[in-house]
């Protein structure tokens, strides 16, 4: 097993004409939907997910990953051009990127974002190739106790990183876990919370939840106050950085990549943390911190690199452990499961072509982003200027067809409507929905591993603290909770989210 052999296998898979095409289409569609204001990666992937159902697993995952970076890049484009970040992690990009656009340097800001993302994506892809095999090997030694504790750690991290009240974030995780348990219990065959409906026997469709909460809920919230958007720039010119500007962005991109790669692996939405961290680092090391917030190119380069590196390395826990580290990865796991693949450490050994094909296609996807997006910027600007009152009925149309095509029943359409109401309610009550979606995906896995762990020890719960790996995870989770509850840090955390809002 050699990294180069693996990458070669990956190139063979990813470079097939059809997979290249799916990657390209994914990146293109992802960007096209992602630039639409108010649609972040999770919503974009949910909307486009049905298109990938009919594909073979490798192609479908390649296309989904393409959609993911496309959506992220699209979000940055919108943040720079109209100051409307589609997702939390491009909030930081909007700070300086929009200022640059106002100064007539939109082209440069967009090019910087693309270059930073490409570099970060390349490094992060290499990291995935290097670190996934040993990590998967470690993961193969994990028993149910380790898995359970790992999921606890992931959920705690998602609680800590959620904006708003900690109490409600915990509530949302519990609610998500409970919703995940609806359906037939694998062990006893008992139907739980199905209200004797055959449609619920296989559980609540997770796309119905995601689309209801992130699609419908978001649309209703956006209609609360309709505003007209002004695009700063109708024509984008002056793309390439000058020599001087290359020199200025090199450092931030390198540092951003390093920060993003490390934080992305953390469960619970590392990419968001990464872009915030990179921004404050750049501000601190800069000789001209006063330019930040007024169109500093470093403030675009660093966070964009960090953001993309984090997005990429967040695939590592998903691919090696089968545990999602953020809602986007939860969607990916859902998509894989629909394809009949149980994500986990065995994917790499049992389906090496799938694993390495996806890894290599990540890099190819980033390359496509770089060569595709800058020439197409005029098209993206036109997409952004489509008025919202024409846009959202079309989004609803795609949501409705998408959720139907999942199981070919109208039941899921009704379910989506119900979750739309819930999604709007949670938004009004400041309850973040990302931890809920994470809990929803982890619910059945957690129960299964808890059950197995306790079955082996005949009910002795001390197994979670006597096995070293499990104990470490739980200790980390505890430390995270204690730290975030410390009044000083708590204030800082709220401050950080204030800055982001």
């Amino acid at each position: 097993m050699d990294v180069f052999d693996n990458l070669l296998l990956g190139f063979q898979t990813a470079m097939s004409l059809s997979n290249l095409a799916y990657c390209l289409v994914g990146v293109f569609l992802g960007t096209a939907i992602g630039v639409l204001p108010g649609l972040g990666p999770v919503a974009t992937i949910s909307i486009l997910l049905p298109i990938t159902f009919g594909l073979p697993p490798v192609s479908s995952l390649i296309m989904l990953s393409g959609i993911y970076y496309g959506a992220q890049y699209g979000g940055s484009t919108t943040a720079i051009l109209v100051n409307l970040p589609g997702e939390a992690s491009s909030v930081v990009t909007a700070l300086d990127g929009y200022q640059m656009a106002r100064q007539g340097r939109a082209g440069l800001a967009l090019a910087t974002a693309a270059i930073g993302s490409f570099f970060a994506g390349t490094v992060a892809t290499l990291l995935i190739a290097l670190f996934s095999p040993p990590l998967a090997e470690i993961a193969l030694t994990f028993g149910p106790a380790e898995y359970f504790s790992l999921m606890v750690l992931g959920l705690v991290a998602s609680i800590v990183l959620a904006s708003g009240s900690l109490l409600h974030a915990v509530g949302m995780v519990l609610l998500g876990l409970l919703l995940g348990l609806v359906g037939t219990d694998v062990n006893s065959g008992a139907a739980r919370y199905t209200f004797e409906s055959p449609y619920l026997a296989d559980g609540i469709g997770f796309v119905a939840v995601a689309m209801g909460v992130f699609g419908l809920g978001e649309i209703i919230a956006n209609l609360e106050h309709e505003t007209t958007r002004d695009v700063m720039v109708k024509r984008v010119t002056g793309l390439m950085p000058t020599r001087e500007e290359w020199r200025r962005i090199a450092g931030p991109i390198l540092r951003g990549t390093a920060i993003g790669s490390v934080l992305g692996i953390l469960p619970g939405g590392g990419a968001l943390l990464a872009s915030f961290a990179s921004y404050s680092v750049e501000k601190r090391v800069s000789k001209h911190p006063e330019t930040f917030g007024r169109g500093a190119i470093e403030g675009v380069a660093g966070p964009e690199a960090a953001n993309n590196a984090g997005a990429q390395t967040s695939f590592i826990p998903m691919l090696t452990l089968g545990i999602p580290s953020n809602p986007t990865m939860a969607l990916m796991i859902g998509a894989l499961t629909l394809q009949g693949i149980q994500p986990g450490p065995s994917v790499m050994t049992e389906q090496p072509a799938l694993f390495w094909g996806v890894v290599v296609s990540m890099w190819i996807g980033n390359l496509f982003l770089l060569v595709l997006n800058l020439p197409l910027i005029g098209l993206w600007v036109r997409m952004i200027t489509v008025p919202y009152h024409l846009l959202y009925p079309a989004i609803l149309v795609f949501c409705a067809i998408g959720v139907f095509s999942l199981s070919n029943t109208t039941f899921d359409v009704y379910l989506m409507s119900v979750f739309g109401i819930l999604g709007y309610a949670f938004r009004k009550l400041d309850c973040e929905t990302a931890p809920m979606l994470l809990g929803f995906v982890l619910g059945p896995m957690m129960e299964e591993n808890l059950r197995r762990a306790l079955l082996i020890t005949k009910g002795d719960a001390s197994v979670f603290i006597t096995r070293p790996v499990s104990a470490t995870m739980l200790a980390l989770a505890l430390v995270l909770l204690v730290v975030v509850l410390t009044p000083a840090i708590r204030g800082k955390r709220e401050e950080a989210f204030q800055e982001g809002a």
């Binding site: 009919g54 009240s165 409600h168 519990l174 409705a400």
Partner: protein, 154 residues
């Protein structure tokens, strides 16, 4: 006199958590609880439900103690129309077929916007959208969406 509920957002969130938690425990009492070593189907949901009840109660108590923001204006019209539009889509799809269901979905939801006017451009856009959906999803991807429903004798 100040109103007893000082933080309406906290109150609302607490109420939702309490309701779901209590429902999980209440319905879950029919499922075998089992023992620690042999967890029954009721074990995990009951524990989670009880924890959610606790969270909900804590939030309710907090909502009377701590000042907080008001919930703000609720967008009843968009809420009603968007949800109704997607429910109608589900109802009409098998009965009236895809084209009608999509048209109703788009038009009812669009009515939620102050700015939407059904002029010839919007109508042409809608027709094009429906055509694209039929071509891509039904013809291209083979999603079994009925083009004409039972009302039209299909």
């Amino acid at each position: 006199m100040r109103p007893p509920i000082r933080s309406p957002k906290e109150f609302g969130a607490g109420l939702i958590h309490l309701t779901f938690g209590a429902a999980a425990v209440w319905i879950g009492r029919d499922y075998a609880f089992g023992t620690g070593a042999r967890m029954g189907p009721g074990f995990f949901p009951t524990v989670l439900g009880a924890a959610l009840v606790a969270i909900g109660l804590a939030a309710l108590v907090r909502s009377f103690m701590m000042p907080g923001e008001p919930i703000g204006r609720i967008a009843w019209k968009p809420l009603f129309l968007v949800v109704a539009a997607s429910l109608l889509f589900g109802f009409l799809l098998p009965r009236a077929g895809l084209a009608v269901a999509l048209a109703i979905l788009a038009l009812v939801s669009a009515a939620a916007s102050e700015k939407f006017r059904l002029d010839w451009r919007a109508a042409a856009g809608l027709a094009a959208l429906i055509a694209v959906c039929v071509l891509v999803f039904v013809k291209g991807l083979g999603v079994p969406l009925p083009l004409l429903g039972t009302w039209f004798g299909e």
